[in-house]
């Protein structure tokens, strides 16, 4: 029983991905309904770090494109979104990591990403809170930070975007069924609900990757760039067991925001003391002064991870009318603009601003069964 389309597009999930897609489609003149179950999601929990990552060309392309879009629209964002273009400083603890920094520099420069190698002495000058003896680093100037919940809220506050608090219990192509039994239909449905995505599509290869976070009290500003250890690159994506990496973000509030940890195989949101402690220990190894600061809140979040570290963006090959925007792992906030633009281009049958191929769901789900 389908009483007519409720909107041109239904978006499932009001996190940063769903919000970005909704805004982009609404700006193209479509009526968009965003349905959200009100469950805790990654947008509320995450660090809001905007960063270019070059583990592989497709990741670089998507993050670079998206960062460009963030820099264009940063000034449009209201103050509550706290957008800052403060750069990421990748830290090399030894000669090996410094060599990684050097090769990243060459790769990124070649791709047109503004960055500079930072010597040992320059590092001490730029970030005096860091411990002595670090080898140096790589500064990626155009990276930034923002407060994701406020940003998603701003995106959803666009003409032609309406919201509904409800849980979707079933998807059938371009129709969704709500918990109360009602079916809603549209031209297209976009699935953008992170780790809940495979409740509706069990075939999706999405796994939750738990992360811990801690934030300090407000202190006079002592850190400029977001500080991330280069060891992060190797440990984050390759480890199967629990791992931590130093990630220290200076908030405009004067708080220091500390991550990062990764664990598979659990969906329990409880803060685990041992994991929190290990993460903090790693951060202190880079910034000893952290030990004396007060942590005021700790929490966890779940990243939606896909097997190759790239999101699934495109029409579901077996379910015509259902479009996917999931599996962004730790790059959801960063790649929200790129994701939205890719989807809009595909929906409108236009040339995408970057190659869509590497993110198509077909790579996991098989070829399309429809024309």
């Amino acid at each position: 029983m389908n009483p007519g389309p409720i909107a041109d597009v239904i978006v499932i999930g009001a996190g940063i991905i769903g919000a970005a897609c909704a805004q982009a489609l609404a700006r193209r003149g479509l009526r968009v309904l965003v349905v959200d179950a009100g469950l805790p999601g990654a947008t509320a929990a995450g660090m809001g770090h905007l960063l270019v990552l070059d583990d592989n060309p497709a990741e670089l392309a998507l993050s670079q494109y998206s960062l460009q879009r963030w820099r264009e629209h940063g000034p449009d964002l209201p103050a509550g979104c706290a957008y800052r273009s403060n750069g990421t400083l990748w830290l090399a603890a030894n000669a090996e990591e410094m060599a990684v920094a050097q090769s990243k520099y060459l790769n990124l420069q070649a791709q047109g990403v503004a960055c500079e190698v930072v010597s040992q002495r320059a590092l001490r000058e730029r970030e005096p809170q860091l411990r002595e003896g670090l080898e140096g680093g790589l500064l990626i100037n155009g990276d930034g930070i923002l407060y994701a919940p406020a940003t998603a809220h701003w995106m959803l506050d666009t003409a032609n975007v309406s919201r509904m608090q409800a849980r979707v219990s079933e998807v059938d192509g371009n129709r969704v069924r709500l918990d109360d039994g009602r079916w809603l239909g549209a031209e297209a449905v976009i699935l953008a609900n992170g780790i809940q995505a495979n409740e509706l599509c069990p075939e999706l290869p999405i796994e939750p990757k738990k992360g811990h976070l801690l934030i300090t009290d407000r202190y006079p500003a002592s850190v400029t760039h977001t500080l991330v250890e280069l060891g992060y690159v190797t440990s984050a994506h390759n480890a199967s067991g629990p791992s931590t990496a130093c990630n220290i973000q200076p908030r405009p509030t004067g708080q220091l925001f500390i991550g990062a940890s990764r664990q598979f195989g659990t969906s329990d949101p409880q803060v685990e003391g041992w994991m929190l402690a290990r993460m903090l220990k790693r951060a202190i190894e880079y910034m000893p002064g952290l030990a004396q600061l007060n942590g005021i809140r700790a929490w966890t979040g779940f990243r939606a991870a896909s097997p190759d570290g790239l999101p699934l963006v495109g029409q579901h090959p077996q379910r015509k009318g259902l479009w996917l925007a999931v599996g962004h792992e730790g790059l959801g906030v960063t790649t929200a603009p790129g994701t939205a633009d890719l989807l809009v281009a595909q929906l409108f049958n236009e040339t995408a601003p970057l190659a869509a191929q590497p993110y198509l769901p077909q790579r996991f789900l098989g070829e399309a069964v429809y024309a």
């Binding site: 009290d217 407000r218 202190y219 006079p220 509030t253 004396q292 600061l293 007060n294």
Partner: protein
């Protein structure tokens, strides 16, 4: 009678005096500056509200639950 340094000025107080009381004995009673720039003073007196956060010998602590000690350095503007 401990002597502490409050925002750079020496202040002698009675034994057992809280740092929160010392703020009023030696200054305007204010402990911190709020996010929007207002001065604040202790509110709940019992370690809950966090308005009396001050820096004591380099560490952020609650003035209402800390007793003055000789040589203590207290700052209300950091």
């Amino acid at each position: 009678m401990p002597e502490l340094i409050l925002d750079g000025r020496a202040l002698r107080v009675g034994e057992g005096t809280s740092v929160a009381a010392a703020l009023a004995l030696g200054g305007d009673g204010c402990s911190r500056t709020s996010v929007s720039g207002q001065r604040r003073a202790p509110l709940c007196g019992m370690g809950i509200c966090q308005e009396c956060r001050v820096t004591i010998d380099g560490r952020r602590r609650l003035a209402c639950q800390t007793l003055c000690r000789d040589g203590m350095q207290v700052e209300t503007r950091s």
